[in-house]
Amino acid sequence: MHEPTQQNHLDKVSYNDKVTRYFLWATLVWGFVGMLVGIIIASELANWRVNLGIPEITFGRLRPLHTNAVIFGFACNAFFTAAYYSTQRLVKARLYSDVLSWIHFWGWQAIIVSAALTLPFGITTAKEYAELEWPIDIAITLIWVVFAVNYVGTLLVRREKHIYVSIWFYLASIVTVAALHIVNSAEIPVSFLKSYSLYSGAQDALIQWWYGHNAVAFVLTTPFLGMMYYFIPKAVGRPVYSYRLSIVHFWSLIFIYIWAGPHHLHYTALPQWAQSLGMVFSVVLWMPSWGGMINGLLTLRGAWDRVRQDPVLKFLVAGVTFYGMSTFEGPLMAIKSVNAISHYTDWTIGHVHSGALGWVGFISFGCLYWMVPKLYRTKLHSVSWATTHFWIATIGIVFYIVSMWISGITQALMLQAVTTDGKLLYPDFVETVAAIEPYYYMRLLGGLLYFSGIVLGIVNFWKTMRSAPAPQDETVLVPARFKPSKLTDDLAHATESVADSGTLIDRLHHVLESKPVVLTVLSLAAIGVGSVIEIVPTLFIRDNVPLIATVKPYTPLELEGRDLYIREGCYNCHSQMVRPFKDEYLRYGAPSRPGESVYDHPFQWGSKRTGPDLARIGSKYPDLWHYRHMRNPRDISSKSIMPIFPWLLENKLDGSHTAAKLQALKKVGVPYQQEDIDSASVHRDRQALEIAKRLNEQGGVSLTVADKEITALIAYLQRLGTDTKVSVP
């Protein structure tokens, strides 16, 4: 099985460390930007005045920029840095192609820049963590393919026959992210920067959360497990705890993770069988996740004292511990009765940040503190600064999570409180908002602490770099190319019982580790099973989404209003999905049914209720109410934290694409007739005039409001839920 020939022949190889250093600085730049935006939106929730009335920086538009910058800017660049650094050293080969490496680098940064240039202007698809519009989606696909070719190419020219566990995780991440992105971003363009999701309603929701949940899995978890497997043993100089555990938890993790998405849609109009699958697979996922934690932590067995001195190990060990915590909290929140409380509240936000700040952030910084001195061939500027960074960041995380636990649970309990004679104890949603506002300040403090740690880290790296000699690529002597062997021969060999060489599974898997392409294909198969079983029936079996005869497509004006709702990011604060609970029934009306959103491309069910549900807001208030509420919500609801949207009252509605929008939706199955499309603008203006007249009658608003954006938004809001309106009991 091994090749004794040419044992002594050595080649000289230099690693491409330059591109790694570039990725490293990109990680820091986007980390800084993304978290700064996080601070801004946190303060906007604490105090609605913070946005200064500037449309581009209101909560609804900035929140997607925050998530995109930290996920795709910070976390992905950290992954690229660590993967390029560790893989070259693990397989003793230079990155496959310098050209591809640079295309990967600049292409990816251009994508994040384009996110920053579109999202604040309301150019968004409204699918969480996939908000970027279709031209950028195509760019992401292309650059990801460049990355994949460069990465797999590197493995194909490797000088080590077997690939180490870090690389399994990297490979599984690369293929799965590609599949998730392509399926979820299927959309039909209307114009250069506007598209509609191919899917609608319950189907769109399922695919979105299959994507969203597995973005957490394959962007924010598996790459970082791969990083953990390289950097912890390197930093502590001890053997990894268990090879077999790494095999078992790798395969079980990727196989099970992919099923768990529907836990984001508990009690919604998603078919209940899919919700149940999402729940039970999340529970089973607990131990496969902890397998990674055990392997990480027990690698330190007998060397715990090292954690006291070394900030690298502090970050890595605390990161793994936060991983253990959030992968316990996650399955807990996936249990439906717990989810009934946690969903739509700040608890979810806290959960995500214990993963993002604790796990992703700490692993990234642990790796960076390890790599920077290596990549610059010098000592870290200040170890005590690094230790300080660690402690303020840790305190910051504690503030963040604890405040979100309290606020989430408080608000949920207040919203669910119903008296014995069937009345809401807190009928006014805004009372519950006022109750949790102090915790929004506490969260802001936590964020500020964490952010100051990052700044300290960046200065530390900067000073380290400035004091370093001119950077150069590391050059090493590597063994000659090994002679590839046939898979069947290797397998036959592995099945022979050999004393002292692990179990059959160990030996078979070891063979697989010499065939990276086969391993990649098998990972794709592992994630394929759950994906197909959940998605295919939801898309193709009619019974899962029964139609409701009275539900009709939006009128042209309502559709324009809906696009404004998307542009302003209202879905970041409002759900449109009433769950079958007594309190929600009393507050919002009858539970939402799948047939109600069949014409919603994309779905607008939302995931967070910073404000009340809007699924049945239609005809609850007069038009004038909305007019004044959008101008300044405090005029109507004095304790509101909703931003002001006065520009909607002044901006003229851009109706240049109304007909094209209907046309595009018709292509994806919305039953518009040709005459609807032909008369779209006329119909739109007629409906706008009716609303303007009503506003004029109700409150003396000038009739010039007819061509303003607000009429479209009012038309949309007044339509919501009215197709199935049953008289309020």
């Binding site: 050293r89 180490y164 043993p233 090879y243 592995a494 005809s619 609850k620 004038l624």
Partner: protein, 189 residues
């Protein structure tokens, strides 16, 4: 005790691996979760072991039970009568409670002092739904959903609604500035 590894000629970039067996507690919990998963699917989605209700059926039962309870409470004690309300008009604290609630919940549409804005003027002699105090209380209780007057009975207690009606009636004849023109029919009861 760590098992041996499949033969591997050299460590990966200096990284060694042990091959400790899977921890027993880890395997036990994994199996237990798997058993739970299967049991849950069987119990909730088949009638094999028990007959289980869907989320929607559970919800419908809950609402039916709630309605039944409400109806029985109402049947025993109608929320208010004309005589009772008239008597309560002089009760200590009623007016101030009503005023507080009105400022909180009603001024957005009826303006301060009930001058009227989105909703009608409440200070004049003209009423859409009757001006006698029990009619006013009933309008507040049931709302006029179609016209944008919320159903306060879903949100406020009967006592609060009584106080509101008392406060609204106290506004009669106050002639506030910028009052909305009269709507409805003359009703001076």
């Amino acid at each position: 005790m760590s098992d041996k590894l499949p033969i591997q000629d050299k460590p990966y970039d200096g990284i060694q691996e042990d091959n400790n067996p899977l921890p027993g507690w880890w395997k036990t919990i994994l199996y237990a979760c798997t058993v739970f998963a299967i049991a849950y699917m069987v119990v909730v989605h088949t009638d094999f072991l028990v007959h289980s209700r869907s989320d929607m059926q559970r919800f419908e039962h809950e609402i039916a039970a709630m309605r039944f309870r409400q109806d029985s409470i109402r049947a025993l004690k109608p929320p208010f009568t004309y005589a009772e309300l008239t008597k309560l008009r002089t009760e200590q604290g009623r007016l101030s409670e009503g005023k507080g609630l009105f400022t909180d919940k009603c001024v957005a549409c009826h303006a301060a002092g009930g001058a009227g804005n989105i909703g009608p003027n409440l200070t004049d002699n003209f009423w859409l739904h009757g001006g006698r105090i029990d009619s006013v209380a009933l309008t507040i209780l049931n709302g006029v959903s179609a016209k944008g007057m919320p159903t306060w009975g879903n949100m406020l207690s009967d006592e609060q609604i009584k106080s509101l009606a008392i406060y609204v009636k106290s506004l009669h004849g106050t002639n506030p500035a910028n009052a909305k023109p009269a709507q409805g029919v003359l009703d001076t009861l």
